[in-house]
Symmetry: C3
Subunit: 337 residues, 3 copies
């Protein structure tokens, strides 16, 4: 299957991703998945290039995934640690990014607790006519595109390991459960899943759901809205679902009085073997991790290899991030030559 | 000298190490020591493999040693930093380990302040039928096998640089001095040294010595007990000793009222040039580091290159950890082929 | 242009740097700058060698620069993180350094908040007859030689990109503005700039200027003193200047009552487009970073690519540090062979 040429310098949001871009990512990730099954799991694709992980919001898990993906492409990696950084000395975020640019960074992987920071860095990089690619590794409550793409890859390779493609999810019913309102994972997934033609059902307590879709996903597309359904209870979302994505519950929602207690949350929205009997028999469950066991999902269900795709998601993360870094890097080389 | 084939997937404890295993480690480390004397100190043995350092208890010194050993085998390394980790988000240790497994880690080097954590991770990895090897880099007051093996290598290469082997220590008198009760270093060393046929003399204040040997080393072997002698004072342990291992004193023992003062401790159990006159003339002194100068050992003795083996221990650490990572990795490859 | 053979094992201070040494560094850096313009930006010069970054004072920016320089020379790097280190366990700095020596470190890059620490480590390494090179990456208020050398390289390549050499600055007027008294950057720059034959004008508030030059630069050289001029106001320093170096203002100077307020400081010593009209028309401005925007320099001036050399300084940092690490490493190899 031939893939479309890659033209995107930055990976910031899935809002404007085109179907052929999703397919290129899926097929490239599939070919890296094959590399990862070999004894020597490295390719020289990004030899001599520098990937800087600018994690203003710390996350060992996601940073390790990006770092390993970069190393398996033979890139050199730099880790920016906020605690010991110039930020404490009053340097602005853009100045930090410009410093890493001037050092010769090729790709910046950026995580920040404020929405929009990766975009601002990308704009500045473009304004300076650099060829640096900026990769949004999670910005506030806005987007987390690589998480949604690894979720997509996990689902599509399950349905067709040889030829994962967006259209495989057409017509599937996918439930997303939990704190939709504050979730960058949900937001990015809504873009990719609706693009595939799936029906997306969002379920959560009213305080954790968006009031207006149009506000939430920043689109007025009627077609998109028809694919999105909102529920204040779990059952209608699970009914005949093909896949269920449950989201991490941030404990600070409780202190903010948006939630009564973890126990009550689990009783109403926690996934269990019992609950998912409402779904289709071959249902699979996803979670972006790290999991609060016994809150979003029961320990038993999380550890059930027949139903839980959580480990596969982590594994997909390496292949998908390799694919995205590779596509960003190869686009760059085309410009140069 | 041919070495026995390696069958051990994990390095967790020396309690059940066999003499031929010790000899394989010693001989493999000797061959890496030779590599380290060349201009290019790297070998491609673990090319493309991933070694993750999961140091739940921070230790730059030991982590650097493992990291450098892995890099000299051409492995890719990942460092897990507890301060910035998902653990603060409530993820369990086993879930952290499973995440690194799913990313494609081949060997996990685990340090934790609780005894048994590396074993628990190893059991989980086996239960999941992964081929990941788990390396105990120090668990609570339980074991620190690589430290004992590098001590063994330091002693055996001193006695025969060409052919270090366990039997070289047969009949030697070795004193271990200090806080035996709380020391994972002492515990692991007791296994290897008694296996060699050495006589091991433990000396320390009564509050820092085990009450019952059988409890301490979890064995009722009469043969083992005959090789272990306990002293409440330093002198009988040093008398005619071939080697003296002094242990790091944890300052918190004072706040726990197990010790009166550092000064009094040094007066009674601190090693000095004067004190070690009781030992054999060619005596050598070891310390696992970092040293509290003037507490466990006088600065003069620590810095005396004729007597102190402390630098050699650090150097041995690289060769021995390379050997162990290599043996774990090569055993893995045999399973695959 | 042939370069003089390199004989210096450590880079600690520029106080005794010879003109031919400056030229060797400049020419070697120029050749690495050329490497950095290629697609594959790595050379195998330090393959198998270990560069340990011992940053007792944290600095992500400078550490990243050294780390990337080392990686582009194909060295393996180790990062020592003070927060998680044995230092909290009471180990001395020299013992930490000796541990990294014993592990097989080839070059130690040392930053510490106390002046003289890199020198003390270098002396200890020599006393032990090791061949380790020690690189001062900033010690207290004493010196920061690689910063001054990258500033020098930035200026000289501007004047002659093909053949950067010390003599290009002969007769130039260079102003250094700000907290001269506490600045290791100023101190190192004074050595290199006066060596070039430039006229160096120091300007700052009286509380932040040295009282006596002889004390400050520890020299009684009349020739040197003739090249150094001191000003309590900005204007005479800027008048007809070819280059202006502004220094970072440490905020703690305010709490120490050495300065009234940031606003007043900016009014009197902050660089702006307006102010630098006093300089020669082709004037360029430098800053070691990170910048307090609107304090030492206006945001507009800092971001003006016609005048500000701040990005070039960061880029030069990689080439200059590659050159210095390479020269230290190659000197080492000559001794061995």
């Amino acid at each position: 299957m031939a893939t479309a040429p890659w033209t995107r310098r930055h990976i910031l949001s899935l809002a404007d991703f085109q179907p052929e871009e999703y397919d290129t990512v899926l097929q490239t990730a599939a070919s890296f998945q094959e590399v990862l099954s070999r004894r020597t799991k490295k390719v020289p694709a990004l030899q001599g290039q520098v990937v800087a992980n600018l994690f203003f919001e710390p996350s060992t898990r996601t940073r390790s995934s990006f770092e390993l993906a970069a190393k398996r492409l033979s890139a050199d990696t730099l880790n920016f640690a906020p605690g010991t950084s110039s930020l404490t000395k009053g340097e602005t975020i853009l100045d930090t990014a410009k410093t890493y640019l001037a050092m010769g960074t090729d790709i910046m992987v950026v995580r920040h607790r404020e929405a929009g920071v990766p975009h601002a860095i990308a704009e500045e990089m473009d304004r300076l006519q650099s060829r640096v690619g900026v990769f949004n590794a999670g910005d506030g409550q806005h987007e987390h595109p690589s998480q949604a793409l690894l979720d997509l890859f996990t689902l599509c390779t399950l349905l067709d390991p040889e030829k994962p493609r967006l259209s495989l999810l057409n017509g599937k019913k996918i439930a997303i459960v939990g704190d939709i309102l504050h979730s960058r994972v949900a937001r990015s997934n809504i873009w990719s899943l609706t693009a595939s033609g799936a029906e997306v059902h969002l379920a959560g307590p009213p305080t954790l759901l968006p009031k207006l879709f149009a506000d939430f996903v920043q689109t007025k597309s009627a077609a998109l809205n028809r694919q999105l359904v909102l529920h204040w209870s779990l059952e209608p979302a699970l009914q005949d679902a093909d896949f269920v994505m449950t989201l991490r519950l941030q404990k600070e929602r409780m202190t903010n009085h948006l939630l009564p207690s973890l126990r009550e949350y689990h009783q109403r929205f926690g996934l269990t073997h019992e609950r998912i009997k409402l779904c289709r028999p071959e249902v699979k469950v996803l979670h972006p991790g790290p999991v609060n066991r016994g809150v979003e999902i029961s320990s038993e269900l999380m550890d059930d290899p027949q139903i839980s795709l959580i480990s596969q998601q982590v594994t997909s993360g390496i292949a998908v991030r390799m694919a995205l870094l590779y596509l960003m890097g190869s686009g760059k080389q085309k410009e140069e030559s």
